[in-house]
């Protein structure tokens, strides 16, 4: 009686095949996660930065509480109050479109240094005192805009009597 020799036709055993598929799957998953993390991480990082910055800008609230005009001295006193939940950095004051760079502030009054800003904590008031030589006739309009470093603005309009 001849002994039949069974010839194995499988490259690997079933167990090994399953293990290989599992390992391949896991490897592909790891590559996919790494790729997704790199790609979407960059995207979400940008989105995260965008929303964080917008959120901080949203939390800024400041108002021009009072403006005192002194016609004889041609000066303006602008009182700015921080009514938001974030400290603000006032970087510019415009009067009729002209940026104010020189301030007469003394003592507790505020100013905006060249290239910098005036920090204003929550709930505090800043008094900006400066000269303005135009618009002191009856009917003239003085438009004051205060800007923060996050891009928010507060406006105030006066009209001469």
């Amino acid at each position: 009686m001849l002994k039949r020799k069974s010839k194995r036709k499988l490259a690997v055993s079933t167990v090994i095949a399953n293990l290989l598929m599992i390992m391949i799957t896991l490897s592909l998953a790891a590559i996919l996660v790494a790729w997704a993390g790199t790609t979407y991480g960059a995207f979400s990082g940008g989105a995260q930065l965008f929303f964080v910055q917008r959120g901080q800008a949203m939390q800024e609230r400041f108002v021009i509480e009072f403006v005192n005009t002194t016609r004889t001295a041609k000066s303006l006193d602008v009182f700015v109050r921080n009514v938001g939940v974030e400290q603000i950095n006032i970087v510019a004051i415009y009067v009729n479109g002209t940026s104010i760079t020189q301030f007469l502030s003394t003592g507790s009054q505020c100013s905006i240094p060249s290239g910098g800003g005036q920090l204003l904590p929550v709930g505090q008031v800043c008094d900006f005192y400066f000269t303005w030589s135009h618009g002191w006739n009856s009917g003239d309009i003085i438009n004051i805009v205060v800007s923060s470093s996050r891009g928010n603005q507060a406006a105030y309009t006066l009209r001469g009597n």
């Binding site: 998953a29 979407y40 989105a47 917008r54 609230r61 009072f66 006193d77 109050r81």
Partner: protein
């Protein structure tokens, strides 16, 4: 198997992207909602000034001393915190003072009683609170006086709102030709009813001898409360009709007190005063020259004083004698030209020493400032040419405080 892996990978990627991206968006949206609520709260604030009263005596004093005032505010909005008060004086009479044309800043006082501060505990105003008092301190050399509108106040809140008013309150309009001072008045039928703030006065003795009219605020001094003390209201009435007007004894000034939460308390009925007011007791009053104490005759032939005649109509307990229209009626002279203001002004005097209905009227003395609303009820007879008829009007008049 491979396709399953691919699909699974896509699902995982989608979930990762959703979580990573929406997390920051949710946080941002939460911030937006919070700030929108803050904006809504900000615009829900609504403060209305009701006036300023002197606490004690207010006049020009030396440096180092203080003038104390009480600023009365009604809150028609949500709870509010006062952050700062600005005062600017525009009357040139006071151009040497610190607040003239340049604002004085009043921050919450610490310690209290410091010049250019207001009482720290007064800075919170509850929603719907009537006549909330804010005590402010000015240095002695700066009293709050001057012409109407000479002092401009601006109340700044912690949410960024600003509410301004002028003190003393400006008149509602100029006097029209022929009329006296006091604004345009309230036209009711032939009558033109006006009121001048300086015509509230008080007295500390039993016999009605009015002292200098109150000029600072509306506060009846605490020291003068009690039995035997009078408070007087002068209502100036003119006529633009062509016949005289006769005031009846049913006319009265009703005074109603309300607590801070709006609860009413007993009221006064204040009636026209005795004729001795007119002829005997105004010699030192600066308005004596304006009082019409001459005899007039109305359309029915009655003879009476054009000024103060009669006494109190309250049936019981008030010490002032009753107003008697049959003997000395109030007669408002006609205008020289019908429909055109006005005839000679007559000062209708309402006086009371006590509060209450049938019980003896006494001014409250609780040590706290109380606010009173008054309603003027004028009953009068007038002949417009078709016969003599009796007319009546009742309207809110003035608000004042006892403190």
């Amino acid at each position: 198997m491979i396709s399953g892996v691919i699909v699974l990978g896509l699902f995982l990627t989608a979930i990762a992207a959703m979580i990573l991206v929406t997390q920051q968006y949710d946080l941002y949206q939460s911030t937006v909602n919070t700030m929108q609520q803050k904006d809504s709260d900000k615009f829900s604030e609504n403060l209305v000034a009701n006036g300023i009263a002197c606490v004690g005596t207010c006049r020009v004093l030396g440096s180092g001393s203080l003038n104390t005032y009480r600023l009365n505010i009604t809150n028609y909005g949500i709870g509010t915190q006062i952050a700062r008060i600005y005062l600017t004086i525009t009357d040139p009479l006071y151009k040497t003072l610190a607040c003239y044309l340049s604002p004085c800043l009043f921050n919450p006082g610490n310690p209290p009683g410091t010049a250019f501060t207001f009482q720290q505990s007064d800075r919170y105003v509850n929603p719907g609170e009537l006549y909330h008092g804010v005590v402010i301190w000015l240095p002695g050399p700066i009293p709050l006086s001057g012409d109407k509108g000479a002092n401009t106040f601006l109340i700044a809140t912690s949410r960024g709102r600003a509410f301004s008013f002028q003190w003393p309150f400006p008149q509602t309009g100029p006097s029209f030709p022929g009329a006296g001072t006091g604004g345009t008045g309230l036209n009711i039928g032939p009558l033109v009813i006006m009121y001048e703030p300086v015509l509230i006065t008080f007295d500390s003795v039993d016999t009605p001898t009015p002292t200098v009219p109150m000029t600072n605020g509306w506060v009846f001094p605490t020291s003068l409360k009690g039995a035997g003390n009078y408070m007087f209201f002068f209502v100036k009435i003119q006529s633009q009709g062509h016949n005289p007007v006769t005031i009846t004894k049913e006319s009265l000034l009703q005074v109603q007190q309300y607590g801070a939460s709006g609860d009413p308390t007993p009221f006064w009925l204040v009636a026209p005063m005795d004729s001795t007011f007119c002829t005997d007791n105004f010699s030192s009053n600066p308005y004596n020259s304006k009082l019409l104490c001459t005899t007039l005759t109305n359309s029915t032939g009655q003879v009476g004083n054009g000024g103060y005649t009669g006494g109190n109509t309250h049936p019981t307990s008030n010490a002032v004698t009753r107003y008697q229209t049959t003997l000395h009626p109030y007669i408002i002279p006609p205008s020289s030209k019908e429909g055109v203001c006005c005839g000679q002004p007559v000062y209708l005097v309402f006086g009371g020493s006590n509060e209450g209905d049938s019980a003896a009227q006494t001014l409250k003395a609780t040590g706290q400032v109380q606010v009173f609303y008054s309603y003027l009820n004028i009953i009068y007879q007038y002949n417009d040419g078709s016969g003599t008829y009796t007319y009546g009007v009742n309207f809110p008049f003035i608000v004042f405080a006892l403190g």
